[in-house]
């Protein structure tokens, strides 16, 4: 059941969904990333890992079980074939490269694949939770975030200014305007979202970037 795309978050979630392969083990950060499964085609089934201790995370199915919540603390379900384990094992999976893809929100990402998404000095610090382990251990790290902050400033920088969540960890940045791949030579613009032109992306992106030879212009 593919939903219609109407706002920036949906555009981002829908594009991230295209990165998933059938059978992938996926960990989704809270917020926007949890929307990704709504946009998976019918022939792509992913297995969701929940860092508080299970694989097979599914929607709430029937009555609320107070012992079954997702990593955001919300009542959840588990699909047939799922499995529970303790937090040590959960992070063995995460740190040990057994999670194929993680999708996280971001405050800033940069040309070196650095990600900042866990604290803003001077503001209340919620803590990193499992984010630092996820960006370090997952095989593929996708940052799913709006292109600019509320004040209009670019969140894609030459170098992150906020304290890092991970150093050199990001593989792909997906915004409502564009898709960037992080390479040894910096950012490469891989795609423009529908109806977005290159000038807009250049204007709204502080970081320098190359343009992929495969990028098609209308």
């Amino acid at each position: 059941m593919v939903q219609t795309v109407v706002n920036p978050k949906q555009i981002i979630a829908a594009r991230v969904a295209k990165e998933m392969r059938d059978g992938d083990v996926v960990n989704l950060g809270i917020g926007l990333p949890t929307m990704v499964p709504n946009y998976l085609p019918d022939n792509v089934n992913v297995i969701l890992q929940s860092e508080n201790g299970y694989v097979g995370l599914g929607p709430l199915d029937g009555d609320i079980d107070p012992d079954l919540v997702n990593a955001g603390g919300q009542p959840s379900g588990i699909l047939p074939g799922g499995a529970f384990f303790d937090s040590v094992f959960s992070f063995e999976l995460i740190r040990g490269g057994h999670v194929d893809v993680t999708v996280l929100g971001g405050l800033e990402a940069d040309t070196k694949g650095n990600l900042a998404n866990w604290m803003v000095p001077g503001k209340m610090v919620p803590g990193m939770g499992g984010a630092m382990d996820l960006v370090t251990g997952a095989k593929k790290v996708i940052v799913a975030m709006e292109h600019t902050a509320k004040n209009g400033s670019s969140k894609i920088l030459d170098e992150c200014r906020l304290p890092l969540t991970g150093k050199g960890v990001v593989d792909l940045i997906v915004t409502e305007l564009a898709v960037f791949r992080v390479t040894e030579e910096g950012l490469v613009l891989e795609e423009l979202q529908e109806g977005v032109n290159l000038e807009t992306v250049k204007e709204k992106t502080e970081a320098p970037f190359k343009i992929s030879p495969t990028l098609l212009f209308d």
Binding site: S50, E51, N52, G53, Y54, D65, P66, D67, L68, V69, G73, S76, I78, F84, F85, D86, S87, V88, S90, F91, I94, R95, N114, M124, V125, P126, G127, M128, G129, G130, A131, M132, D133, T136, G137, P163, L164, T165, G166, K167, G168
Partner: protein, 218 residues
């Protein structure tokens, strides 16, 4: 060796200045009755080790709200605004640890290891003050073991010898905290006779459990 105790008897284990570990992820898998007993015991200056500080009114949250904690070691404090407030006001010390690292540190404490080398946190503020080692060309942080004087655990079921079975995502930090404290006190929903749990299905062997409190409500 009768391990069954009342809440009053549990209270006798608590002392000012004590280090206490508590299982749970945002309150799920936290022994709420034992936390209440700890609150009523009126001890202060606790060093609390837990995945998070839960909420104002549930999990280990009330210990923070009622100023019983001198220092908390956790991966996430965002769901309990009182933790952040006390931290900024200098009323309580907060050590934030990535969730996978926190789990490994507690495991190391219970397993007789001197520490573990993790890639998580390299290049972030987490590495401050820590030894950094390069093994086979990759950088790791040396993270040291954590132990406590008392561990407060929650399980679904115990037999009278203390063999434990956890339920759903309420397992989380409980199984490995069972090895990392001098006294292990567990709150269970259900008590059965020795021999009623198949030895293959025991998740924590009774030799690690000192006291069992059977909760009234189901």
């Amino acid at each position: 060796m009768n391990k069954i105790i009342s809440l009053d008897e549990a209270a006798s284990f608590f002392k000012d200045g004590m280090s206490i570990m508590a299982g749970g992820f945002m309150g799920v898998g936290t022994p709420e009755d034992l936390v209440s007993a700890l609150l009523e015991a009126n001890v202060k200056d606790i060093t609390l080790i837990a995945n998070d500080t839960a909420f104002i009114g549930s999990g280990v949250g009330p210990l923070i709200v009622n100023h019983r904690v001198k220092k908390v070691i956790a991966s996430h404090i965002g769901t309990n605004p009182e933790t952040g407030r006390q931290m900024i006001a200098g009323e309580m010390e907060v050590e934030l640890v990535p969730q996978g690292t926190l789990a490994e540190r507690v495991r190391a404490g219970g397993a007789g290891l001197g520490g573990i080398l993790t890639p998580t946190g390299v290049g972030t503020v987490v590495e401050e003050g820590k030894e950094k080692l390069t093994v086979d060309g990759r950088e790791y942080l040396l993270e040291k073991p954590l132990r406590a004087e008392v561990a407060l655990l929650k399980a679904y079921k115990a037999d009278k010898s203390g063999n434990l079975v956890y339920h759903r995502s309420a397992r989380n930090f409980n199984p490995f905290m069972a090895l990392a404290a001098d006294q292990v006190i567990v709150q269970v929903e259900k008590l059965v006779e020795v021999g009623e749990i198949d030895p293959d299905e025991v998740m924590t062997p009774g030799i690690l459990v000192d006291k069992i409190y059977v909760q009234r409500r189901q």
